[in-house]
Each structure stands twice: as structure tokens, then as C-alpha cells.
Amino acid sequence: MSYKRAILARGLGTFVLNCVIVFFALAPLLWGFSSSIKPTDQILKVPPEIIPSEVTFAHYRTLIENDVFRYMGNSAIVSAATVLLCLGIGTFAGYALSRFAFRGRNFVMVVVVTVMSIPIAALLVPTYTLIANIGLLDTRTGLVLLYTAYELPIVIWIMLGYFNTIPRQLEHAAMIDGYSRFETLRRVILPLTGPAMIASGLFVLTSAWNDFVVAVVMTSGQAVRTLPVAVYFYLGFFGREWGPLLAASMVSMAPIILIFILFQKYFVSGVTGGSVKG
């Protein structure tokens, strides 16, 4: 009897602990959302209402009046282009590193691991210096190229690991059938890489969509401003007017959370920089 009670108590303890964890992890997001749909005078009410008694989308309308769609469009274009470029270049490089004992392979591996580890903040000022000198300041192209340079190593690493799990016999067979090396890669190997493409693509997409520090340094005009930079400028513009600020946070966060819910299992491999299970 006491044994059963001990198990019950333990289960209850775990449950309470889990509730505490959920509260600390998600409360800022949920409360941010509930405040973003409150009328301005209700937001600052003390004690605060957890569930708003009066719902309004005025703050979201304020954002629309302040060009939020343009910034979202910029973020979407830059993120999509980065994903395409990263996958295009990274897949080929990963394949070469997985299959061929070429001269300089060790050097390329050192470059990949080094760039994967260099924190972007240490590069900001030198990179700004370069980008300004070659006329890519304040362009979407500049952002795409920089994001590609920063995210490429993780794509190469994930693809490399995945190619290593594909048996070489496949290529041998294809080449006996008369395929060239490139045809073998394109027709036999690439169609098998779906899961690794999705995992690395999602990782790049999230990083590019979320990036703030690179974009805030490399762009200044409204024409190419991305969503996170826009949120930062809203912070300066709206100050302590929390309604539009919280609404902007929700707009920036929503697509990422949706993708995370849909593709959860692919996310972890990007974080660990490790293997993908097909």
C-alpha cells in the first residue's frame, strides 16, 4: 500500500514540476500574446488580467499602417534565398567531403568546423567594414550572402553525415550502368537526401528569419529592412507603448512556432549539428 502511495506521490511530484517548467518557459509568450490583443489602457492595468475581458486587434492594425507587410516580405525573400543558396552549395560540398579523398579535404574540414564555431558578434565590425567597401551595405543580396556564409558549415556538416549513411555500392552500380559522376549524384544520390535537406533547410530558415544583429548592422533603410530589425525600430519608435511592440513580437514569432510544431523532429539535428534519422 505504501509502495503504491509512493509511486502516486512521485507521479504527482513530476506533474507539478512539469507544470512549473511549462509556466516558466511559456508564460512570457502567452502573456505577451494576451496583452497584444488588449486595448492600450487595459495593458498597463495592475493587477493584470490574464485573459483579456476586451479583445481588440488595434495594435496589429497599427503595425499594418507601419509597413509590417513590407518587412515580413523582406524577411521571407532573404530567408528563402538563403535556404536555396545554402542547400545548393552545401549539398555538393558535403557530398565531396563524404566520398572523395581529394587534396585539401582536411583543410576544407577545418574551415567548416572553424566557421561553424566562430561567433558572429566577433565578426560584425570587420564584416561591416568589408560590406561597406564592396557596396553591399543596405542590400538584400548582402544579407543573403552573409547568412549563407554563416549557415553553410552546418548544412555541409549535416549533409556530410547523411551521405556517410548512404552505401557507396549505389554509386558503383550507377557508374557501371554508364552514368557520369555528376549524373550519379543527381539521379541516384540526391533523390535519397530528403530528410537531411529538410533538417538543414529548416535550420537555415529559422536562423535567417530570426537574425537580428547582422541585419541591424548591415542595413539601415526601410526598403530592405527585415522583420526583427523592424521590431527593434518599433522599440525606439513606440517606446513604452507595449501594444504594437508585443503585437510585432507575435508576428515575428508565429511562423517559427508553426514550423516547429509541424517539423519538430527535424529541429534537434540542427541544434546538435549531428545526425539525421531518415
Binding site: 493584470p48 572523395f100 566562430i118 556517410n164 529541429f267
Partner: protein
Amino acid sequence: MRIFPSLRGKGADDGGEAFAMRLVAPALLIEFLFVFLPLTLGVYYSVHTVRYFQVGAFIGLDNYVGVLTSPAVRNSFVVTAIFALGSLILTFTVGLALALHLERDGRMQVFMRAVVLVPYIISMLVGSLLLRWVLSQDSGVPQAVLGPFGSSGFSIFANSTSAMGALTYNAMWRDAAFAMILLLAGLKSIPLELYAAARVDGASAWYRFRRLTLPLLKTPILITIVRLLMHFINSLTFQLILTGGGPANTTETIALRTFRLGFEDYALGRANALSFVMFIFNVILISVLIHLFKPGEKLR
């Protein structure tokens, strides 16, 4: 430096040298142009007088001496050390606790892992902005929590100790899940039979943790610590959004100082010098990390 095993004689295709080089060339070009070239240019700027973008006379290490003797920079070193160590200890502890708590693959554990990952996957900017809202007087939280202690007028961001505490909390809130994921990968690789055997031998839970889990987790723990440390030393968004370096620069870290030197004062010579100092420090940490990684073993 040959730290990666060669593929030669291991069934690799030796004939495709030219083909392989063509495949890696675009990646190498991009990394060279946007990572290594900026660093070179940065070093060049750092040893010259620079007025906006006009590179002037060669002045040797004057920019370095200038930044390293500046009180603001020295202050930022101390602030960075406090922030990085405090955040490391807090984040690592919570991350390890989460990893141990959510180790098994039950439905509940998988769900909980997803929940704690949410602060990590959203943008740092948004996360810090939300915490800034929660911790500000405007939200009513500080008043509600501190009110009973008779200090409802207390502003978290106006006091240097509590501002640093808020920053550290922000770091933990976001990155504990990152530490958890890295440590979970390590925990998964420990064979369950070892625990079963220890249990048969009558080892207590604490003894199993102390004598089995910790020693076998040594490399993942070290990797996690180095990666967290690098991340915190270089973090910019937390400070820029949550505290803005305030009050009175008591939360202004090196990354934020460099940012201001470069993009508010436009002192590109000095900012590049400070960036390079930071870079050298990172290289030391990276070389530690590469040796811990032993990627060759994971290649196969």
C-alpha cells in the same frame, strides 16, 4: 594539423579529385569572401588611423593600446566575465537538470522537451523583448512579486545587480534547452545495461549519477560548457534589448562595447582592434572545442 582522418585507402573514390574540388569550390569561395577576407581587412583597419572609411597612416598597435587602456573597455571585460560565468553556471545547471528529468522517451518527456525548446527557437530579439516586458514596471509583475516585501517601487532595470540578474535569467531562459539537447545526446549514448548492473549491485540513485553518469558524460559536458561559454561571451542581443547596457554601463559587455564603438561612434580602427582581440580569444576556445569534438570519430 591533421585532425580529421584521411579517406585514402578506406574504399573512397580516389579518381574523382577534380570533380570533388569543383563541388567544394563554391563553398570555399563564400567562406573566404565573407569570413576570412573581412578578418584580414579588419586587421588592416586595426593598425591604421581610420576616420569613418578613410584609412589614414599606419600606427602599429596604437588602436590596440587605445582600446585596452580605455576604462569603458576594461569595464566591459569585467562585466563580460561576470555575465558569462553567471549565465554559464545557471544555464548549465538547469540544462543538466532538464536533461536528466526528460531523459526517457515517453510521450510526456518528448512533449516537455518541445516546450522548453520554444524559447530557444524563437528569435533572441523577441525573447528578450518579451522578458523586458514581463520584468518591467509596466507589466505589473515586479510590483506583484515584490509588493509583499514592501518594495513595490523597485525597478529591476535601474539597479545594477538586479539588471545583471535579469540578463542572466534571460540567458538561462533561452539557452537551458540548448544545453539540455547537447547533454541528452550524451546521455543517450550511455548503455542502459550499466545502470541495470549498478542497480543490481545496490548502488543508490546519487551513487549511480556520481560514479556512472558524470564520468561517462565527461566529453558532452565539456563540449556543452565551451559552447555555452563562447555563446555568452559573444552575446549581443540580450544586452542590447533587455538592459541596453544600463544602468550606467554596468551590463555593457565586450560585444556591446564593440558594437557601440563601431556603429555609434564609427571608430572603425578601434572597433576592429577590439574585434580582433575578441576573435583571438574565440580562436583559443574553438581550438579547445575542436579537440573535444574529435569529429573524425563521428564521421564514420
